[in-house]
């Protein structure tokens, strides 16, 4: 590798990430362009580029997207949501709490964007029926979807990437992250109780309208739903056992997806159209871009600097990674950030021979929870706020920041205490 290669790789990386942050050009377009420029300048050969793609992450994302695309057609989410709203007799605050629990659990098993895509429409139907502003309902759901997703391997794309690179499985994530996530969830719900509960007065007449909703009408395809519950249960069991059975998590997701496609008799072409292909190509391009930095030695250089800055002290490293990830992920897309941090942490392990497992948890907590800091911190935030906007309700960057950022800081503070107690 020549110094020209280093300059080219760094320049392409910085310009591409700058363009992704500026959002002037579609993020997938610019990432793929940057990755191909690396090939053009022979920083990477095509074989090296392919070797740098984490196909476990890609396979897991595609597999889960297929399962969710079919499951979405059943109406199961809407059924459960209406059932919950009726169970609490249309009480707005109780709806918010139970929908939050529902969203956090769903987000742990599906990715955050999918969860938001499923929960926001039915929430809007509920708030329309109650004739109340949807903001006090949707804002907590956005934040808990990011919180819930942090608890598992499959809940948030950064975790999928970390799991794939670090060899950490579904159970590892649950055992190490779910306890602190439950604590954070309870605290955040309490914060929202203080903020919104007193404003939640709705007349009995409007509550009665909720009782008139018929959850059975929401079920679009009962046989498909039964098959979906069977496949999803099987897939989750597969995730719990994949480490013991020596399967990659992507293998489990793809087997589940293939099985659901087969037994559902869904139109495969139509289901494959539903996959978020721009996201998949974005991931592929990022792996190649970071691969370029690895190949020219920039990642090793940064790892050395980080080790010398923290003098190899695990306490400082954990605090640095946790808080650094959280602040950066509040303002920037956490996926490119995590894509860069993964090889950096791996290099630290190689150079210092210390057990870096706490750093993976710090990265996961920081990158996933950091998304709650601002409106642009996570895709789920942007989508939910976009939906609110379409309904004429404005949740501005500042409004989001005023509540989201302190909650994010509180979550990271709780995570710091947890990591210190558990690992340091």
């Amino acid at each position: 590798m020549t110094s020209t290669h280093i300059i080219i790789a760094l320049s392409i990386f910085v310009i591409t990430y700058g363009m992704i942050i500026s959002e002037k050009i579609n993020r997938t377009t610019i990432a793929v362009f940057g990755a191909t420029i690396l090939l053009l300048f022979k920083v990477l050969t095509q074989e090296q580029a392919i070797e740098n793609i984490d196909f476990n992450t890609i396979g897991l994302l595609i597999g889960m997207m297929i399962i969710v695309s079919i499951l979405r057609k059943t109406g199961a989410f809407e059924y459960l949501a209406i059932k919950i709203a009726k169970k609490v007799k249309g009480d707005p605050w109780k709806i918010i709490v139970l929908f939050s629990v529902f969203t956090a659990v769903a987000s742990a098993l599906l990715d955050n964007v999918t969860t938001i895509l499923l929960i926001i429409p039915i929430t809007l139907v509920i708030t329309d029926t109650l004739e109340v502003s949807p903001i006090p309902f949707i804002f907590p759901l956005i934040l808990v979807s990011n919180i819930g997703g942090t608890a598992t391997l499959i809940g948030d794309p950064p975790n999928i990437m970390i799991g794939g690179a670090a060899g950490l499985g579904f159970v590892d994530f649950i055992v190490n992250l779910a306890p602190v996530i439950i604590i954070i969830f309870v605290v955040v719900t309490f914060v929202f109780k203080l903020k919104y509960k007193k404003k939640m007065a709705v007349s009995q007449e409007k509550r009665d309208r909720i009782m008139e909703l018929n959850e059975k009408l929401a079920i679009k395809d009962l046989p498909l739903l039964k098959k979906g519950i069977f496949v999803l249960s099987l897939t989750i069991i597969g995730f719990m056992l994949h480490q013991y059975l020596h399967f990659e998590s992507a293998t489990v997701a793809l087997i589940g997806a293939a099985l659901y496609l087969l037994i559902s008799k869904a139109d495969t072409e139509e289901i494959l159209l539903e996959i978020e292909w721009p996201t998949i190509f974005f991931f592929i391009a990022l792996f190649v871009l970071v691969g370029g930095l690895k190949e020219v030695g920039v990642i090793n250089f940064l790892a050395e600097k980080l080790l010398s800055l923290t003098q190899g002290n695990m306490f400082f490293l954990v605090i640095f990674v946790l808080w650094g990830s959280a602040i950066i992920s509040s303002f920037l897309d956490n996926i490119p950030f995590v894509a860069t941090m993964i090889p950096l942490i791996t290099s630290i392990a190689v150079m210092s021979s210390i057990d870096i497992t706490p750093l993976w948890w710090a990265l996961s907590l920081g990158a996933c929870l950091g998304g709650n800091g601002t409106l642009v911190g996570a895709s789920a935030n942007v989508i939910a706020v976009g939906m609110l906007d379409k309904h004429g309700y404005k949740l501005s960057f500042i409004d989001f920041f005023k509540t989201g950022f302190p909650i994010m800081l509180l979550s990271i503070l709780l995570s710091t205490v947890y990591l210190i107690i558990m690992y340091l």
């Binding site: 979405r72 109406g75 809407e78 964007v113 938001i116 895509l117 499923l118 926001i120 429409p121 039915i122 809007l124 139907v125 329309d128 909703l213 018929n214 009408l217 929401a218 679009k220 139109d267 072409e269 139509e270 159209l273 978020e276 895709s379 942007v382 989508i383 976009g386 939906m387 379409k390």
Partner: protein
């Protein structure tokens, strides 16, 4: 991102329509807009190609008219071609502007008619009066058509004259 927001919006509409008692089927499809400029007369069509292989064709300019549901893409082009041909012929007439104005008026009259009958309680004799007028108008159009020479026949005779 736009695609995801649209999907969420469709889901919301679906839930609301289901609660009204509808069975909603959501099908992926492609919507095509077709524009022609015939010397200043804009003809615009829209057709939808869905996954079930059906095509819904509609003319939206100069005045809206649902054409039909057809089963082949080739037929879409054929029907549009025939329609364009008819308009090209009609443009030779000095009455084209009047014809388009009348067609627009018929659409507008239908909207008023629907609004009146769906939103007001109309006495029976008034209903009958309007019905008779519509039938009379229809009859008059039929009579005019019977007495007039078809464009197809005119074209054939023009072709024969040219050949001879």
């Amino acid at each position: 991102m736009r695609n995801i927001i649209n999907k969420a919006e469709v889901t919301e509409h679906t839930i609301k329509l289901q609660q009204l008692g509808a069975k909603v089927t959501v099908i992926n499809s492609t919507l095509c807009y077709v524009n022609f400029n015939l010397s200043g007369l804009i003809l615009q069509y829209v057709y939808n190609v869905n996954f079930n292989g059906n095509y819904f064709l509609e003319r939206i300019r100069p005045y809206p008219l649902a054409i039909q549901e057809i089963s082949s893409e080739r037929d879409v082009v054929k029907i549009i071609d025939m329609d364009i041909h008819k308009f090209k012929n009609a443009m030779k007439s000095s009455h084209i502007d009047m014809f388009i104005a009348m067609a627009k008026q018929i659409n507008s009259t239908f909207t008023t008619f629907e609004d009146t009958f769906l939103n007001y309680n109309i006495p029976g004799e008034k209903v009958e009066k309007i019905y008779k007028k519509i039938m009379a108008l229809e009859l008059e159009i039929e009579m005019i058509r019977e007495k007039a020479k078809s464009v197809e026949a005119i074209e054939k005779s023009e072709l024969n004259d040219k050949n001879s």
